[in-house]
């Protein structure tokens, strides 16, 4: 066991949070094979805990039932209300959205309420996750693995989502129908020059990827300030990309209502733009967390997911 070390960080209100970090070995009896693993424990300074720390051995009993899904419970094991509140928000958003688009009475209200509900759930759920990982130290290697699997599944679902858009594009462009003049692009459609803004946006997005790799290595090397600078560069490049895409959408000669060309083009590039915006928000949060000292050499799953 490593001796407990004191870490001082600050919360957004400016109060200093004193934490004790210790690594201990934990026996994991959940599976048929009993095994031991090293876990890091972070404790907030507390009068009741402090005397236990002064001794040479620190014994902390942790109750983590491996049969119980971790993410539907709060750190302590209480059932979390956020999955059901998020589901209700999604239901209200979907029904409200359809009602709004069909000019039903109250559609806009239901849509707004649903979106507010979802945004609130996102805020409090991730707030809980951050508390569980930083202050309570519940994110053991097994929990980190679960988070990683979850995010990998999300990425795979995105790959399939975009695969469908490429499929639609090739289906429509490789054998254009008579209704659009039998040619691609359809007659009367002006196509954006790929060697102008798209060619500029490609290296911008690639540079953003390079900068996030720089941030990753800086975190691994323990260079905390450098990692913040790298994340700022990453986010700025992503914002420039979004700005150029917005400008191009504004100046584009066609719209999503212009034939199958407009439908496939704006659906695919629009969802890609949305994907970039979500990634930018995620990286902004990572940058703030890096600035606050939440991310360490060994523990930065949130950053890896954003990258």
């Amino acid at each position: 066991m490593r001796l407990p070390q004191k870490r001082i960080s600050h919360n957004p209100q400016g109060d200093s949070i004193v934490q004790w970090e210790a690594s201990v070995e934990e026996e994991y009896k959940g599976s048929s094979r009993a095994r031991t693993r090293t876990i890091h424990i972070y404790l907030t300074e507390d009068a009741a805990i402090k005397p236990a720390m002064s001794g040479s051995s620190l014994s902390i009993e942790r109750k983590l039932d491996p049969k119980k899904p971790f993410f539907t419970t709060l750190g302590g094991g209480d059932p979390s209300p956020w999955p059901i509140s998020g589901s209700l928000g999604a239901l209200a958003t979907t029904v409200g959205g359809v009602m709004y688009m069909h000019s039903f009475q109250g559609g806009a209200t239901l849509l707004s309420l649903g979106l507010i509900f979802i945004l609130y759930t996102m805020f409090v759920w991730w707030r809980d996750v951050l508390r569980e990982s930083t202050l309570e130290g519940h994110h053991t290697k097994v929990v980190q693995l679960g988070l990683r699997y979850g995010f990998i599944l999300f990425i795979v679902s995105e790959v399939m989502f975009f695969f469908a858009f490429f499929w639609a594009f090739f289906h429509s462009s490789l054998a254009p129908t008579v209704e659009i003049g039998g040619i691609w692009p359809p007659k009367g459609i002006w196509v954006l020059d790929p060697w102008e803004i798209p060619f500029l946006n490609t290296p911008i997005l690639l540079s953003s990827g390079v900068a996030v790799t720089w941030a990753h290595h800086a975190i691994l090397a323990g260079k905390e300030k450098r990692a913040v600078y790298a994340l700022v560069a990453t986010v700025l490049l992503a914002l420039v990309f979004t700005g150029f895409q917005g400008m191009e959408y504004y100046q584009a000669p066609s719209t999503i209502s212009d034939s199958i060309y407009g439908s496939t083009f704006f659906l695919a590039t629009g969802f890609h733009g949305f994907h970039v915006i979500i990634g930018t928000l995620f990286l902004i949060i990572c940058g703030i967390r890096q600035y606050l000292g939440h991310l360490t050499k060994e523990h930065h799953v949130g950053f890896e997911a954003a990258a």
Binding site: P203, L206, A230
Partner: protein, 117 residues
């Protein structure tokens, strides 16, 4: 190359630890301490130092590539934007263009469209 460096580092450290044990066979006690542990510690320390050095090197390398990327993007942006943007003629009103089956809840124009009327 990185793997080769790890291997050579491991080999060197292992040999350093191993040479001491090979000269005189150690007495084996019940406690698992001794030369074997020393070698392991040395090996682990070498590995940690190596990974730390590697991360420092990679950080500096990717920082340089980032600056290069930003510089290249700036030059390309100045070139592309200085060309100005082309103007397109209004196409004939083909039935598959500017499709409107129903009024939008917010008015006659799409969200990302310029005013058509």
């Amino acid at each position: 190359m990185a793997m080769a460096m790890v291997r050579s580092g491991l080999l060197r450290t292992a040999l350093r630890g191993g040479s001491r044990t090979s000269s005189a066979p150690p007495k084996r006690g019940f406690a698992s301490s001794g030369h074997h542990d020393d070698a392991c510690k040395l090996l682990l320390r070498g590995l940690i130092e190596f990974i730390s050095d590697l991360n420092q090197y990679e950080t500096a390398k990717w920082e340089k590539i980032s600056y290069l990327g930003i510089a290249a993007c700036t030059v390309l942006a100045i070139y592309t934007l200085s060309k100005g943007h082309p103007h397109y003629d209004e196409p004939p009103a083909y039935p598959y263009l500017h499709i409107r089956n129903k009024e939008f809840p917010w008015g006659p124009d799409g969200l990302f469209e310029k005013k058509q009327h």
